[in-house]
């Protein structure tokens, strides 16, 4: 499963129970329509740290990193690249 699908499945399971994962587009703004609120972001961060084994510091807490499935994916990829460097 691609990261995009993994993230989509988590978001749907956790925040949109019942919604088909296909219905959620990768660029859907999750913050703007309240799918994920600021408390939800915390839950998401904890999951990303655990699932993708990356440490997220306070400086990475910019909500834009978690605005959409695509943004989360980009953030994970970038974090891993930085960690490997």
């Amino acid at each position: 499963m691609s990261n995009i699908d993994t993230i989509k499945n988590f978001v749907v399971t956790e925040f949109l129970p019942g919604t088909a994962a296909d219905e959620l587009s990768a660029d859907h703004d999750l913050l703007n329509d309240g799918v994920i609120d600021s408390l939800g972001v915390l839950k998401l961060i904890a999951w990303v740290e655990d699932r993708f084994e990356i440490a997220i510091g306070d400086t990475d807490l910019n909500p834009d990193n978690f605005r959409s499935v695509a943004a989360i994916e980009a953030f994970i990829t970038e974090s891993r690249r930085t960690a490997d460097a």
Binding site: L16, T19, A20, E23, D33, G34, V41, D58, L61
Partner: protein
Amino acid sequence: MTGPAPGSAQTPRGSAADPAGLGIVAGFLTQVRTRPDATALVLDAAETSYRELYELARQESGRLACLDLAPGVPVGVLADKSPGAVALVLACLLVRRPVMLPSPALADALLADLFAQAGCTHVLAPGGEPARVGPNAAVAAKPLPAEEAADVAFMLTTSGSTSLPKIVPLSTDAVDRFTQWAGPAFGIGPGRTVLNYAPLNFDLCLLDVWTSLARGASVVLVDPALAAHGHHLSELILRHRVQVVQAVPMAFGLLREAADRSGDHFLSVEHVMFTGDAIPDRTLAALPVLFPEARFHNIYGCTETNDSFIHEVDTRAASLGAVPIGRPLPGVRALVLDPDTNTVVEGTGSGELFVSTPFQALGYLDRARHAGKFTSHPLDLDDRRWFRTGDLVRRDAAGNLHLTGRTDFQVKVRGVAVNTAEIERVLLAHPGVLEAGVAALPDPIAGKALVACVQRAPGSALTGLELRKHCAQRLPRAAVPHRLTLTDAPLPKSANGKVDRNAVAPLAQLSSTTTPVAAPLTEGTAS
């Protein structure tokens, strides 16, 4: 037009030695003149001195002057919290330009209507940048009478119990009277550091931002985007040795969770004020450990009247029961009206709370929305303007008031008042919705979580995602239900044929299992 410059011959009322009598503008200018290098604002690692803040505000007032507006015409300000945003609002206060300050988290269409209704011809962002929304030209302004408009300092919005928030104009005198109370009450002055948790459009900022700036304290601004991070809040309080913390109970819950992990406690804090919602027992019990040197105050108020009641919690008491809202602030009148007998309750007893405060608005901008809120004395016993809070209270033998409920469908979500009946109205406005019920369930962090159940119209393929978008465009963020449950079956009804909200809640909880089920269709599709 500009305000009096620091160092000019013009002396504000009172003196630097006794700033208690000064309002926001005169108090701030006194600080600029006498303590220009003192820190006014802290955001992230950046500090802004009183001199720098004044310079920023002066540039903004120059831009305001270029707009060439008639006196009393408000400007809209749409800005996330920043020193630039504080400077822009300050500039409006300096040049006596009413400033309309709604939540930037509201949907653009809602903001455009609000700015238009307020009579704003311009919506500004800091630094002369364009704001993302202008006033909606199709919506008629409902301006105040000119002589009243000229006295307005802030135009705030009710925190979101309605689909179009009500605009609350607060006069310069009203907010100045408030800062004159709040400053001495919590020792806010030079050398003191105050945490500002609330977003800039909240009435709470009249205390933690504007009283602080009027009296020479330093304000540590919490970025609203990071306000749910307990660890971040904890770091701010420790790093900046904050002495005064005012926030909704949720913030203290987040701090407690962070401290549970880190073992931190906050020795610098002397005053803790929680407000906006009932504080959970668990959070309350942790406060004396978190803040070993602090005094604790429960503050009760609303946007329309500002703060009206306060209760200092005695943490040495053997058991901390439910916290009362306590007693009226100096100058505040309060009465409890028994709804059954329509008489004023003297001594112990229960009823609806009416307040009349020195800090209150004269009314909503739209006077058509006064009915039942801003009223005369319910028994016509005086000439004051009273505000009907909608809160049911009980007065105990010691004279303290306790909140017991609401007369309407208002609930608090993270300290923000939302009205479940209004949310139902918004859900029902969608053509794909036949019936809707909204309930508030207890939530350990947010206080209350909103759950909605919706019966779809026959043949509708409405999805949860689509309905969520519909809500987000029409409701303040806090009023968008946490969980939306869609079903094609009729919702449970009470005996009188109305949707039974008590029965709706378990239906929504049922759907919180992650397995999609046929009925109800959770956030689901027709397939």
